[in-house]
């Protein structure tokens, strides 16, 4: 009885495990991508101007970058192996196509990132300045390459292209690798993800800089003002890019995964033109509304590019899929898709608003004073971070019940040999460890942020005399590693 009960659950537990480990991993990845570019930019500013302010900012944000990067590395290990562990039938089915971008990602990106990060950390006084600067840029390039290949793999799951089905072996086989690498989904998802990552990095830098600027106005104010403006401008510019790429993405999604678009909007019946609901109060899945805030014709524009375009609804699509794939539900979990889609966009817009507010409050040398701004600034780093999670959850949950859209249902991908006890053990193990690591990481980040800009060895800080606490023996050396 217990066994039957547990057997039923292997799929659910495996899905929870993938969700937990992947969403967790994806908290660190966008920040790594964004921050690597910003740290490289800060170091470039130091290289070109020789201003020590830039060097100290490089080391300060570099340390925070490394704390975050370490988490990305160790949680990434799990990603490489869990397809085989929990999703072995999926791996068998798609390995011919899906494995190649993963392997290439490792060869091209992971070696580059890890090797040159080691060189960057330990090479400060061992390498010529130029070469040392190059190493952090190579790390940044590595993170971008990595994003491209993994998104190409994921995009194939959303929109399988360049393959044929082998009856004999019961698997998908690659016909055209270029088609996989130039899948229209990856071509829009990559810039969208990179722009969102830059926004994440920018919000991180801006939020921390604002906190220092307002709470410790006597300490390194010039440096933190520069950092704040750099971060806020990054948020705004990349925010615009997120919107522009997201707009194209919506149209591609309507084209290749119409059900996902309908689910994003909880649009049950086909509408022409279709309005976009900003908020719905009623049932969670939006099927019955008591009150809704709607923008007429906006969904038509988002989905089709025309204000009068037709957007197909969940019910007709469900019927269509029943004709094509047989009975059963081909509809994703609507409350999740509906609300993650809104939270993703909403958090992004709020982050942009805070960025604009920061720039306004610091215009022409003004010092920010509003307590509300401080509160918003402290929360700001969390906004793109959560928006990333929401976007990721949306795109994965919106594909359900498929693991590979139109080809393989998620239920068919799970490892047939693993037991609920095994999968339960690992999900509990990973969750506990990840929870503990989150506490350690946040604690370490906060301590490092609190420490402020490191002093340079053998000299006073360039931004004027520092407080008495700098004699604290780890301070001048806080860039130990």
């Amino acid at each position: 009885m217990l066994a039957t009960l547990l057997d039923v659950d292997v799929l659910d537990i495996a899905r929870w495990q993938f969700g937990i480990t992947t969403v967790y991993h994806f908290l660190f990845v966008p920040l790594t991508i964004g921050l690597s570019v910003l740290v490289a930019g800060l170091q470039t500013a130091w290289y070109r101007t020789g201003h020590e302010r830039w060097l100290r900012l490089t080391k300060f944000f570099g340390t925070l970058f490394l704390i975050n990067f370490a988490m990305g590395i160790v949680t990434g290990l799990v990603q490489e192996f869990q397809f085989g562990m929990n999703w072995s039938d999926y791996s068998r089915f798609v390995g011919d196509i899906f494995g190649a971008p993963l392997a290439i990602e490792g060869l091209l990106a992971f070696f580059l990132e890890s090797t040159f990060l080691g060189i960057w950390i330990f090479g400060w006084d061992r390498l010529p300045k130029r070469l040392h600067l190059l190493s952090i840029w190579l790390v940044a390039i590595g993170t971008w390459l990595s994003a491209y290949f993994i998104l190409a793999a994921n995009s194939w799951m959303q929109n399988p292209v360049g393959f044929s089905y082998s009856e004999e072996l019961g698997r998908a086989e690659l016909d055209d690798f270029m088609a996989v690498l130039t899948n229209e989904v990856v071509l829009v998802t990559f810039p969208h993800t990179i722009a969102a990552s830059m926004m994440t990095g920018g919000a991180f830098v801006a939020g921390i800089a604002l906190w220092h600027l307002m709470r410790r106005p006597d300490k390194d104010a010039d440096a933190f003002r520069s950092a704040l403006r750099l971060g806020a401008v990054t948020v705004l510019v990349s925010g615009v890019a997120v919107i522009a790429t997201g707009d194209v993405q919506g149209k591609v999604m309507t084209d290749v995964q119409p059900m996902k678009m309908a689910a994003a909007e909880a649009l049950y019946e086909t509408e022409q033109p279709a309005s976009f609901s900003i908020l719905t109060i009623g049932s969670l899945d939006g099927s019955q509304e008591i009150w809704a805030l709607k923008v007429p014709k906006l969904l038509s524009y988002l989905a089709t590019g025309s204000v009068d375009g037709e957007v197909r609804g969940i019910n007709p699509l469900q019927e269509e899929y029943e004709q094509e794939y047989g009975g059963g539900s081909w509809t994703p979990n609507i409350p999740i898709t509906y609300w993650t889609f809104r939270l993703m966009m909403g958090l992004g817009f709020v982050a942009m608003a805070v960025g604009a507010w920061m720039l306004w409050a610091t215009r022409r040398g003004r010092a920010p004073t509003s307590r509300w701004l401080l509160a918003a600034g402290v929360l700001m780093p969390l906004m793109p971070l959560l928006a990333n999670s929401m976007g990721w959850i949306f795109t994965e949950m919106g594909r359900q019940p498929w693991i590979v859209f139109g080809l393989m249902p998620t239920a068919a991908g799970v490892s047939p040999g693993t037991t609920a006890l095994e999968v339960g053990t690992t999900v509990v193990g990973f969750t506990l460890l990840y929870g503990a690591l989150a506490v350690v990481e946040v604690w370490l980040l906060l301590r490092t942020i609190d420490g402020g800009l490191p002093l340079l060895a053998g000299g006073d800080g360039p931004d004027g005399p520092d407080g008495p606490d700098v004699t604290d023996d780890e301070k001048p050396l806080s860039y130990a590693y």
Binding site: I97, G99, A457
Partner: protein, 335 residues
């Protein structure tokens, strides 16, 4: 050469690279409480692997990815079959990585102790478990007609697999000691130097027993030659250590690990996971492989980028070639 053979060879090379490189990382991690009497010594020890350990670990990630791409059946059966040991390895690698990277971010004693414990446990676990796992792969495990592992957890802990775990443990300890002897100066150098035979001699005995057992199980003349060469390399490394030739001692322990791993892969070929239930159910380089088209693409990519990767990774070792001593760290306490 068939492309499937090419990819078998490449995956073997990735594993050999991983075991040789992470072997000394694990060794240093395990020797941390043995040789690291005080904080500066421990810091100097970890500094020897600091710039390179992460790049070394990527060899494993790429081996995993390459297996997925070139032999999906192998990847699927191996990773879902060896579920719990693999889970344990992942936990260890996570804890070790965080320990190494976070250790010097704070300097209070309790924090350092926790990190050191993480590094110790996270290095020892994989040092044993990789030996167990690889031995099981080569020896064969129960695989059914569908290519599914049906053995259960305990079937992975048979005597030959446990011996395999002891051998990798011993080899990595020896290798770690010879690496530290090569990369440090002063007191820690002398003590690491003396540890090499202390771990190396018992390991040599275990390794010879293990490789002989492997030979009687499924050996070929070529695998025997590799095994003999592995044992000879280990003994040559120990002799070089006795003569105070650190570079040669390290070369010896590196070759011992590489050749022992080579013996395993030579024994394995052309299977990738033999079945103990029925030889017809074994996964082979043919029936576990991807299509020729995928293998061709991967071959082109690997042919172009592997030399580049090897070049810059070697260069990073060259950049950090200097021996490290506690005195350097005291002059610049946390450079």
């Amino acid at each position: 050469m068939e492309l499937t053979t090419v990819w078998f060879v490449l995956i073997a090379v990735l594993w050999i690279g991983y075991l040789v490189l992470e072997g000394f990382d694990f060794g240093v991690g395990m020797l941390l409480p043995v040789l690291g009497r005080d904080e500066p010594t421990r810091r100097a020890m970890l500094r020897t692997i600091g710039p390179v350990w992460d790049g070394n670990e990527v060899w494993l990630v790429v081996a995993g990815g390459a297996t997925f791409a070139a032999f999906p059946e192998w990847y699927a059966t191996l990773f879902s079959g060896f579920y719990i040991p693999l889970f344990a390895i992942l936990l260890c690698l996570i804890v070790r990585g965080i320990g190494i990277e976070y250790r010097e971010k704070r300097h209070d004693a309790a924090w350092l102790r926790w990190c050191d414990l993480g590094i110790l446990v996270g290095s020892t676990g994989p040092a044993v478990l990789w030996g167990v796992a690889l031995t099981n792969v080569v020896w064969g495990v129960p695989i059914d007609a569908d290519g599914e592992f049906v053995g259960g957890f305990w079937s992975l802990l048979q005597p030959h697999a446990l011996l395999g775990g002891l051998v990798t443990l011993g080899l990595f300890l020896t290798h770690g000691a010879s690496f530290l002897a090569l990369k440090t100066r002063g007191d820690v150098h002398h003590r690491a130097h003396r540890l090499v035979p202390l771990f190396g001699l018992p390991t040599a005995v275990l390794a010879v027993a293990y490789l002989a057992w492997l030979y009687t199980h499924a050996g070929t003349p070529v695998s025997l030659a590799c095994s003999v060469a592995a044992a000879a390399a280990l003994l040559a490394g120990l002799s070089a250590d006795r003569l105070g030739r650190d570079g040669w001692a390290f070369t010896g322990t590196a070759f011992a690990i590489g050749l022992a791993a080579l013996a395993l892969f030579v024994t394995l070929f052309p299977d990738v996971m033999p079945s103990t239930l029925d030889p017809d159910w074994s996964l082979t380089t043919e029936n576990a492989a991807s299509t020729p088209y995928t293998l061709q693409i991967m071959t082109v990519v690997a042919a172009i980028f592997t030399p580049v990767v090897l070049a810059y990774e070697s260069w990073s070792y060259w950049v950090f070639r200097r021996r490290i001593s506690v005195d350097d760290l005291e002059l610049v306490p946390a450079e």
